[in-house]
């Protein structure tokens, strides 16, 4: 095992960071405008949406999703980094991901070029051409109803695509995006508590708040390393379910806790905490109920237990 990136991995992440610092704009409230040019630049540079041929590739893809989320870049990174390469779809296409039968409220559905629908027995793909109704959702991501546009363009089954591994990669990516958002949010709140003075001293000096922040940090770290480990073992049901569960279980309490710690100031648009916290809620919902993942851990571990 090795918990540090090597020179090649670090060079990839450094190049990614350089693009983020040069190009990324914090997402607006209530809905971010997707920066298609940024997406294209990341893909063209080979930083996002590269082929997944090995555990190392999966891990790097997860590191990329995590880093972009931490830096508050709102792009369909899970689809581009993990799902599109696995399905042989072009990474440059802005892809929305949906469960079959749940096409009315799809993350990135309002602005994506195409949608992949994962069903019980098949995975289907449809181009999304023309306008779609924006959903009335204020969780930063551009949600939309893709049913009509996809039906108009026509669904195509993706030959040979098994829904189970596709769903596993989708969830793995969501855990990475959650981890990045949690890490970014905790860092931002720690900085705020250090700057904000009350009772004649920085809020960061209060042990009650230090302990709650340390708990939040430990939760985010647990999610991050569980997810990175799962990326290396991406075909291991238990590892992926454990990562998804750890990230998903942490997200909602962390969202509430960080807003509580920032007081009313944390609600304001110029403070910007929403950029992480609202995304946490949205991503958690896309994963489905965490109890399902908890059961999946048990099934994977003990289904053959006496």
């Amino acid at each position: 095992m090795d918990f540090d990136p090597d020179a090649t991995q670090q060079a990839h992440l450094d190049a990614l960071q350089a693009v983020i610092e040069r190009r990324a704009v914090p997402p607006a409230y209530p809905v971010a405008e997707i920066d298609r040019a940024l997406h294209r630049e990341l893909v063209d540079a080979g930083l996002l949406g590269f082929p997944l041929r090995s555990p190392a590739d999966h891990l790097l893809a997860v590191l990329v999703v995590e880093a972009l989320s931490r830096a508050n870049v709102v792009l369909p990174t899970v689809a581009t980094a993990l799902v599109a390469p696995a399905l042989g779809l072009p990474p440059a296409s802005m892809l929305a991901l949906a469960e079959e039968g749940a096409l009315d409220l799809v993350r990135f559905g309002a602005q994506a070029h195409a949608v992949v629908a994962v069903g019980d027995d098949a995975v289907r793909h449809a181009e999304l051409v023309g306008p779609r109704a924006d959903a009335d959702v204020a969780y930063v991501y551009p949600y939309g109803d893709v049913a009509a546009a996809a039906a108009a363009a026509g669904w195509r089954p993706i030959e040979g695509a098994d829904p189970a591994p596709v769903r596993r990669l989708w969830r793995l990516g969501l855990a990475a995006e959650l981890s990045g958002a949690m890490l970014g949010a905790v860092e931002a709140v720690a900085a705020y508590l250090t700057a904000r003075r009350q009772f004649g001293r920085p809020l960061a000096a209060l042990q009650a708040l230090q302990h709650r922040m340390a708990e939040a940090h430990a939760s985010a770290e647990a999610a991050r390393w569980s997810t990175r480990y799962a990326a290396w073992h991406a075909d291991d049901d238990e590892a992926v379910a454990a990562a998804v569960l750890t990230a998903s279980d942490a997200a909602h309490p962390l969202c509430m806790e960080l807003h509580q710690l920032c007081g009313a100031r944390g609600f304001t648009l110029d403070h910007g905490l929403y950029r992480w916290t609202l995304r946490l809620e949205a991503l958690r919902v896309e994963l489905g109920g965490p109890d399902e993942h908890a059961v999946a851990v048990t099934t994977a571990r003990w289904s053959s237990a006496p």
Binding site: M1, D2, F3, A56, A190, H217, A294, V295
Partner: protein, 383 residues
Amino acid sequence: MVRLEPMEFGWSDEEAALRQEVQAFLAERLPEDWDLHTPGEDPSSPFTRAMAADIAQRGWHTAHWPEAYGGRDASPWAFIIVAEELWAVGEPRGSQYMNTSWIGPAIMAAGTEEQRRQHLGPIARGEVHWCQGFSEPEAGSDLASLRTRAVRDGDHYVVNGEKIWTSYARQADFCFLLVRTDPASQGSSGISVLLVPMDLPGITVEVVPTMLEIHVVHRIRFEDVRVPVSCLLGREHDGWGLIREALAHERVGAPRFARGSYVLDRLAAWAGERGLLDEPAVAARFGRARAACHAARLLTYRVMDDRAKGRPDTPSPYVARVAIVRAERAVAELGMDLLGRQGLRRRSRADAHVRTAMIAGLGGGSYEVQLNLIARLCLSMKG
């Protein structure tokens, strides 16, 4: 420094083989019901003494030590693999796990050649018992306020004071003792470490009655104990750095998550036999406890990675310890809920793990101290 290895989360063939060898050895050697022992519960019986010697003889006890001191120059990964397997099944070395994890390394780092010769061999051979004289009645989490004093008198220190909540003291041959050698000092300065033979006149050990059942703690009184100056570890008045390092090792030295995972497996077998794992609510509880153990394991592995790369001062042990305590508590709560009133029976798996989880939040530094350190070192939140 040029790093050659990429981030990866697999085991080498050698590491996988080591785990298999240890597992096979334990399957062959452990009595049927040995796993009902809580780790550390049986610090020094004829069985644990024999097992410690056997494990040492196989080169596993101090595999991660340099060859010059009885090790095999293996990486910290060998240490954690062996530690996990042994802790999971009840730690058949008794209390000697402590020696290889932090007492031996401290002597290796700061000891004189004579101290290394005297202590490291017996530790590596699995034939010596230690305790650590850290906490005092008035110095628990605030360890730096310790008052046990050692006054220089010729070639000796004269030690007076009291240590408390000390594990394994009754069986110990030596004590890794923290004392204040500079009477004018306060806080972490002026503290020294003495390697004290427990048979010196003036040392008395008594059991402190507790509700822990699975673990015995002691009070050690030092009354005009004359400790040779040659027992000083490192520099006089300058022991705090050694203590910090020892505590960092202690926080993850016992891989508690491995026992938690093991107990979960046993509880799952029990639940499976009764069809309870088919109930989604029960299955979800198991999944959460398992994921908590898994996260604690990975965060502990991160500490091993830091050690393998010679980075002793990272905050990774504090984060790992928080995850470990969370995992222990999740397993304990599940065990008790699952077994219901039968879980209350003395020595049931639930009973033992509830008490284990209580200890986890305090042993090796309280949970709150870990949180203090995370806030300060990981989040730059200053007090």
